[in-house]
Structures are given as C-alpha cells and as structure tokens.
C-alpha cells in the first residue's frame, strides 16, 4: 500500500475531527434553569412509553427546564451515531450490559450519587452501573429472573414449585409429556447463568480479570442443565416451536420456564387466559441465586446542560416518579424503600422482588460481547446434545482469556 492512497482518507478524517472537536461538549454548568434538554429512550411497551411521556410532561410543568423526548427504534445504532458525532442527547437510557463500553469511551458523566438518597438503590444495581470505581448512573428500575409456571398443570400433576435442583429435576420430569418437555429455557447465558450462580460458579471472577469457566462449579451447573435436556424433561423454547419461554408456557408447550418481569406484560397481551404464577428459582448446591437486569438514566459527558440534566434525572428517580413509572409496567422500582408499596398492588410478583437480595449482575467489561456469544453458542450445543460440557467450558475459557489479557 503506497502512501498516496493514504492521504485522502487521512485528510478526510482530519476534516471530520476538526468539526467534531469544534462541536464537542464543554462544561457549561451554571445554567440550571431554562435549559432545553433532549432525551433518547427505547420502548419496551406502550405502557412504558405512556409512563415516560407523563413523567416528562410533569417535569416540564415545573418550569425549570424543557425536555424533549425521542423514543427511537434501533436504539443502539441511533445512540451510537449521536455519540460518534459528538452531539449526544443530554439524557439517555443505558442498558446495564452496555455500561462498560460507554464508560470506557468516556461517553458518560458519573452522576450516580448526585440524586436524592443514593444509598436507597439496591447495591447490586449500583454495582451494575459502576465501572472502574466510578458509579455512573442511577438505575431506572430492574427485573430479575425467576421460575414461571402453569398453575393448573402443576396442581393437576400434584407438583409443588421446586425448591432445590433435585426437586426441579423431579418436577420437570413429572410434568413432561410425550413430545413435550416440562421446562422450557432459552439457550443463552442470560438464562442458564442462574444455574452457574446457584452452583457457586460464574464465567469470571468478581472484578472480571480472570476467566473461571474451567471450575468444578461451572461444570457441575452445565452438566445439570444439559442432563435435564438430554432426558427430555427440559428443552429450548425454539425446540418446541416458540420464540421464548413465555410463548412456550402460553401455548402449553411447557409447564415451567425461566423468565423475568417482562413476562407479565407479554402474558397479559398474548395469553390473557393462562393462569400462571411466579416462584423463586430453586436453590443449587451453593444456595439461591438469580440474575438482575437493569437500565439507568445516563447523562452525556458531552452535554452542555449537565446541571439541568442532573436535575431532571433527580426528578425521574424520585420515589413518586419511580412508583408512577412501575405501576402499570411490571418492572420493579430500583429503590429498596419502595418495594413493599410496589408489592401492595402486585403481591403475586413477590418472588421477583426477593430475587434482588441474591441477584448477580450480568455485566462484564468492554469488548466482552463475543465471549458471551461464544458461551451462547456452547449452551445451544449442550441443549441440542451436540457438544460436551468439557468442550463448552474450554472453548469459553479460551475465548474469554483472549479478551481479558
């Protein structure tokens, strides 16, 4: 490659750089009132859209600042484009698994502690949004994974919701009918991970500096779930012709599944007649464990109205707003003090709240996505009976070491 071809792209890039740095955000914090703020969000349901719009209308009414909301499709692409252009929205949703990348890129202002009573948020959620010692953004709400089951089927089979792995094996077996498994699980780390945690294992150590796939605990967990599949008492949602666990349950293609809070809204819309209930996941050899997923309100480092943006996030994370937000939308408030109030109108969802006490954060480091992908690949192979636990453990261990070193 000659140097000649190099000049044009370099010049072009230089041009863009100039432009980008010229528009790059400078701190301009004094202006707290009268700022125009832009917010990006993604939509997970019509109920959430309505709640968010109502919250913003209420905030705008206070007259301090004006917020303009864009609820966008292809959210990651939209947000990334705005960030790459140096003009991100002032406030935006951040998925927990995206946090390390955003933090490493310097896209976020660490404002986690600048909201009212920051210690009220669940510690595990705060950890999800902490990267290299800085707590970036307060969690909006959260979900946990638990066991969802068909009430009538369990009653008819005389099965109680299982409390241990042994009971889960027995229950799944008893609920299995010819050509239909008792338990349906999506073959991915964000479901199977609960078993790893219940066995006392995890893909990495707690500060994500070492891979710990190649351990007895992880092997035990993977072997346990793989055996459930091999015996026919568990199967993937796809293997029974459905897209996810909720659909499998709703269509009677399984009697139990492992999903999170989102299942409530989906069942109401898609399977309004199904009687289901939520139980805590069975405890493994090392006790109870689950995974938590959360989204936070990020404030852009490049924002020109940081003080106003923080004021707005404070408003959104206030107790009243959190309760309003989670009323019709079955995710849980991220403030511990609100859990009983939230449960008052939804006592049947207590298991999800209980999960907060023993949930693992499913967040790693920047660049870890291919490792999770590789693990998912292995999990799919285990579920299909195409691969052995040893192969999966070693492949993921190796993939992780590539990234971590």
């Amino acid at each position: 490659m000659g140097t000649r071809q190099w000049r044009l792209p370099a010049a072009l890039a230089a041009l863009i750089l100039l432009g980008a740095s010229a528009c790059g955000g400078d701190d301009n914090q004094g202006n707290q009132t009268g700022a125009n703020l832009q917010m990006y969000a993604f939509s997970s349901s019509a109920a959430e859209d309505a709640a968010l719009n109502a919250a913003i209308a209420a905030y705008n009414k206070l007259g301090r600042n004006t917020v303009r909301l864009n609820i966008l499709p292809e959210y990651d692409t939209a947000l990334q484009t705005a960030l790459a252009g140096g003009q991100p929205p002032d406030v935006f949703y951040v998925n927990d698994n995206k946090l390390p990348d955003l933090a490493r890129a310097g896209a976020l202002e660490p404002i986690g502690d600048k909201v009212d009573n920051p210690d009220d948020f669940y510690e595990s959620l705060r950890q999800s949004f902490t990267f290299e010692g800085a707590y970036y953004c307060p969690p909006k709400d959260f979900s946990t994974l638990q066991l969802i089951y068909n009430v009538d089927e369990l009653a008819a089979a005389g099965v109680q919701p299982p409390k241990t792995w042994e009971e889960l094996t027995a229950a799944a077996q008893k609920l299995t009918k010819p050509g239909r498994p008792g338990l349906a699980i999506n073959p991915e780390f964000y479901r199977w991970g609960v078993f790893l945690a219940q066995a006392g294992g995890w893909p990495t150590n707690s500060d994500v500096t070492k891979m710990t796939m190649d351990t007895a605990q992880v092997r035990q967990a993977l072997q346990y779930v793989a055996d459930l599949h091999k015996s026919g008492s568990a199967a993937t949602a796809a293997a029974v012709g459905t897209g996810w666990g909720g659909e499998a349950l709703g269509k009677g293609k399984a009697a139990m599944t492992i999903e999170g809070n989102w299942i409530v809204g989906a069942m109401k819309a898609d399977f309004p007649n199904l009687k289901y209930a939520v139980a805590e996941l069975p405890a493994g050899p090392s006790g109870k464990a689950t995974m938590a997923f959360s989204v936070c309100y990020g404030v852009a480092k490049a924002s020109k109205n940081k003080a106003a943006a923080i004021d707005f996030v404070k408003f959104l994370t206030s107790s009243e707003q959190q309760l309003a937000f989670t009323k019709d939308f079955p995710v849980m408030p991220s403030r511990k003090s609100l859990s009983e109030q939230w449960l008052a109108s939804k006592p049947e969802l207590r298991a999800f709240v209980n999960g907060a006490a023993y949930a693992k954060k499913a967040v790693f480091i920047p660049g870890f996505a291919p490792v999770v992908d590789s693990m998912n690949d292995g999990i799919q192979g285990l579920a299909a009976g195409d691969r052995t636990v040893d192969q999966v453990v070693m492949a993921t261990q190796q993939a992780g070491q590539d990234v971590l070193k």
Binding site: L12, L17, G24, D76, R104, G179, G367, P370, N376, D402
Partner: protein, 341 residues
Amino acid sequence: MALFRKRSRIHGHQSLAGWLFVLPALAGLGVFLLAPILMAFWVSFREWSALAPLDTSTPIGVKNYHDLLIRSGIVQTDFARSLRNNLYYVLGVVPAQTALAFFLAVVVNSKLLKGKAFFRTAFYFPSVTSSIAVAFIFVFLFSPSGVVNVLLSALLPGVVETVWLNEADGLIHLALGWVGVDSAPGWMGGKVMGLSLWDWLSGPSVAMSTVMILAIWTTTGTFMLMFLAGLQNIPEELDEAALIDGATGRQRFFKVTLPLMRPTLFLVLTLGIIGTWQVFDQIYAMTAGGPQKTTLTPSYLIYREGFENSAMGRAAAIAFILFVVILLFTGLQRLALRRNG
C-alpha cells in the same frame, strides 16, 4: 482522411459528453458513498469504540486485519465461520434466484399468457412485503407443527417434526451421516483460519437453508423485473425469423433469447452475488446468527462488532475483507460469462 477527421471529432465530443453525463452521478457517489468508504477504510486501521468522536480512536496498524485473518482466537474463528456460512448461502441462493426469476420473467412475458398483470404483480409482491412480515410468517411456516412439516408429513413416510430454524447440523454432514460417516476422517483435522476442514465442509445448516429459501423467495420478484425489462428489448422479428427457419422452442431460447439477455444476466448475477455476500436483514430478523453460529454472516458480524461490541475498527476491517471477497467473486463470474459468450 476527411472521414477520419470527422470520426475523431465525434470522439472528442463523446469524450466530453461521456464525462459530463457521468459527472453528476459521480459527484453524488463520491460525496455520499466514497467519502464514507474512505473514512471506514481509515477506521479499519484504528481502534474506535464509535461511542465517542473519531478523535478518541487510536492507530493500531494492521492489527484488526491480523486478528481476523492470522492470529488464532475467537475473533478469527468467528470470522471464518461467517465466511463459511455465507459461502454456502451464496452458492445456494444465487443460482436458484437467477433461474427462478428468469423462468418467471419468460412466463409473464409470454404473449400467450392470460392474466399477465395478475401474475406479474403476484410474483413481484414478496419484494414489497415488509421483511418483518415475511420473517414473522416464515417462522410460523417452518415451526415444528407448521405448514411445512404438515405437508412433508403427508408426503413422506412417518411424521416430520424438524425444528427448521433450530437445527445446526450441516447438510453435507447430514448426508455423510446417512452413509455412515459421522466424524472427521483423520486427514480432515487440519485447520484453516482456526476451523477444521471437516467444519469448513459442513454445508449450510438446516437453519441456514431455511433462511436461504426465504431469501430466494423475497428476491426473485426484483430480479424477475430486471429480466422482464431485458426481454422487452428482444425484437420480435428475431424470434419470428428463427421460427421461420424452423427452430424449435428450445433452440430459439438457447440460440436467440439467451445470448441477447447476456447484459441482463450479468446484471442479475452481479447484483445477486453482491447482495448475497452482504446478507444482513434476514439474519437479523430471524436467527441473529444462531443456532450455534451457523447463520453468522460477515455483515451480521460487522453489526455485532460495530454496534454491540463497540469495536468499530474491527467491524470496518471485516467489511474490507468482505469487499475483496465480493470483488473476487464478481470477477470470476464475469470471466465465466465472457468465456461462454
């Protein structure tokens, strides 16, 4: 002499006019495509999260290319898998969509056909139907108790309960399995780009084959339209002349129609190869690369690395390796077509 001068004047005019005619188009392509392409090329030699402006990126030389092609590791194996999957996809889809589109174009162009407008519209419709709707419907058609299995169960002995989109076994591996070859013979243990020969020769997975059927079905309408436009240009006299000379239908097709359709065939094959090597939408909507990475394609990998894994430099490098692969394939196709002409 005079003749010569005149011709050269025309040539001068043509030269000027030639450039003037392409200039506006070139300007547009230059600004809105070439500039972004050059920028992406530059990015492929850098590490950039794309979560902050370009000035936060750092130069890393050819590392992105090295990781993809040479250094063994997950990056290389994922890329090798995506190339393998896409290669089978191209080999399956391009001939099928071209043949089907040509066949349908000839049929709806026929003078004898009644209800031409209806059939043309019907065959074109998958091209306008939204990809969400199409993916949605295919998932149901190919579900375990879906229409496809019901039909197959009726035609074949036994009950067919294949979970089409969840089946990671390769077709060639399956075929070898039927004749008793279940695992790699010793000489196939050698690895190319981190993937054993046995894995390279798996054939498309059942899931990928399902996606291929969908792709053929959705793209045929567009290519039919191009063939149709080409067929319109064939002067009827030529056909008539051939008919008078006593040519049979088949002879007329191969001796008259096909040679005249060469430019359109080149168009359709080239666009087909480019489009299939860049397949993204169907994968994104239906399988997200699974099961067991057997529908992972380079374009999907670009999306995953660039937008989910914040490794835009690596994504760009994948794009330019794919660019070279596409040029190679279109070049080969051009040679083959010229040879037959």
